[in-house]
Amino acid sequence: MSDAAERNWRSATDETPLVRGLLILAAVAGMALLVAAPLLTVFVEALAKGWFAALKSLGNPDALSAIRLTLMIAALSVPLNAVFGIAAAWFITRFEFRGKAFLITLIDLPFSVSPVVAGLCIVLMFGANSAIGGWLVAQGYPIVFALPGIVLATMFVTFPFVARELIPVMIEQGCQEEEAALTLGASGWRVFTTVTLPKIRWALLYGVLLCNARAMGEFGAVAVVSGKIRGQTATMPITIEMLYNEYLSVAAFSLAGLLTALALVTLLLKTVLELRHADEIAATHRH
């Protein structure tokens, strides 16, 4: 950062004030038009007919069932992905094996697959037309157009989040402390819970936070696998789509406002983590 207050000459490594001003203006204007304006629109539209109308629309049985479903999906998919992330990061950073780079590529794969294609993959594997799906339906456990399918689709699109945050941190920290604890006779589980977990907890929280935000907001993959059954498999984003297409603007934007509030809380917590625990999260997020 510049210490402009102490000098009245322009350093050779600064741009002219005009260029500087124009660049700042471009950046701020771009962010205002593209990010701030849509954000504001959500709340303006939600409150277009006042607080009462907005709150009343959230009390609608379909809205309540959507909120319940979305919370349930996050409560199932996020912990499962956290367990996967911890296991994958442990396996990748604590052992040397062939094909490690390939495994990391496979874990990152969902980031470059379209959510709609992800949903399609789940339908083709677990749908009633597939071998596995058909058998499960016959046993009375449908996957697609039901909760398990939505959870699987959500897990697919959020799969790399936790692992990606943990792997760089665990590589950087090394495993000398774990080795010392093992030498002193601690069991494997004890080493993990008392040595490793405290070291990675902020990175883990960071990953869980991002995973949760995406899990609650996922639309494309869920739109494909859920079947959009009102009151049963319609999550919050799906319900927002339905309400919007029915021109129920206040109801759609009230529900959207709830999800937006969640996104803002996520950003706030993320920024706090980046400022307070910079040395315990992945280097690329430090400020």
Binding site: P38, W90, F95, F97, P115, V117, A263
Partner: protein, 278 residues
């Protein structure tokens, strides 16, 4: 002696961590992707080609790819400017802007979609303004372009920002002492240093935009051959229970994604060789 598959290690938990990793990876990601490829294989190459080789599908793939490319290009330029401004300049609200960069990642795509549509529709705040100038944004390709810029906005800034922070000011001073103008220093010294990270961000932004669905479908208008994106075509096939058709387009999109993933990796290998690990 060949390298062992797994080196012996005193660390505990090998079986458990490997078991969880491979089981979940197979169940959630690899199995379903395999199911897609198997569906395509059973349909046969001729069938796949016959499905993809239709005017409507080509138009959708071309539209998705072209608009994503230009949106990523916009994000490349804007993202570098934004990263530079956030690292080098101090101005009121800098922290707020910095935090807001991640908003497109945190905001659900459906919410972004309906908010952008409301703003840029002919009766919206910005849409009405554009209408006065004879422009229509929402329900045209311009609207899709806008939504794709939104979803890819953070990538370039977030990959370039740490690189700018790492730049040694002395390099710029040396360049200035040797008589280079500021513009020359930026072009010949700074730009090459930022290029690999900026290209990585560009590729990530492109990959995200090509597959994007939620934020686009509201603003697109979804007119076949004109404003219909490739992911929407998959959804339409599925709604008609045409699994073969959906799988064919899905495989085409998967192939495009893999090509882009490969490109990202090649850029990273190339940049590491060129400027060392960043």
């Amino acid at each position: 002696m060949p390298r062992p598959l797994i080196n012996r290690s005193p660390m505990p938990g090998l079986g458990l961590s490997m078991g969880i990793t491979l089981t979940m990876l197979s169940l959630v990601v690899l199995g379903p992707i395999g199911a897609l490829l198997a569906q395509g294989a059973s349909y046969g190459l001729d069938g796949l080609w016959a499905t993809v080789n239709r005017e409507r599908v080509w138009a959708a793939l071309e539209l998705s790819f072209r608009l994503s490319f230009f949106a990523a290009l916009f994000n490349l330029v804007f993202g570098v400017v934004l990263a530079w401004v956030l690292v080098r300049y101090d101005f009121p609200g800098r922290r707020l802007v910095d935090a807001a960069v991640d908003l497109p990642f945190a905001l659900p795509t459906a919410v972004a979609g309906i908010a952008l549509t409301t703003l840029y529709a002919p009766n919206g705040v910005f849409g009405a303004l554009a209408k006065d100038f004879g422009l229509k944004i929402a329900y045209t390709q311009g609207g899709i372009f806008l939504a794709l810029i939104f979803v890819g906005l953070p990538f370039v800034t977030r990959t370039v920002q740490p690189v700018i922070e790492e730049i040694d000011r002395e390099v710029e001073e040396a360049s200035a002492t040797l008589g280079a103008t500021r513009f020359t220093t930026l072009r010949r010294i700074i730009a090459p240093m930022l290029l690999p990270a900026a290209l990585t961000g560009f590729a990530l932004s492109l990959a995200r935009a090509v597959g994007e669905y939620g934020s686009v479908i509201f603003i697109a208008g979804n007119i076949p051959l004109k404003t219909e994106i490739a992911p929407l075509l998959i959804v339409i096939q599925l709604e008609e229970f045409n699994y073969d058709g959906a799988a064919a387009i899905g495989i085409a999109m998967l192939a495009i994604s893999f090509a882009m993933l490969l490109a990202i990796n090649l850029i990273q290998i190339w940049s590491r060789r060129r400027i060392g690990d960043v």
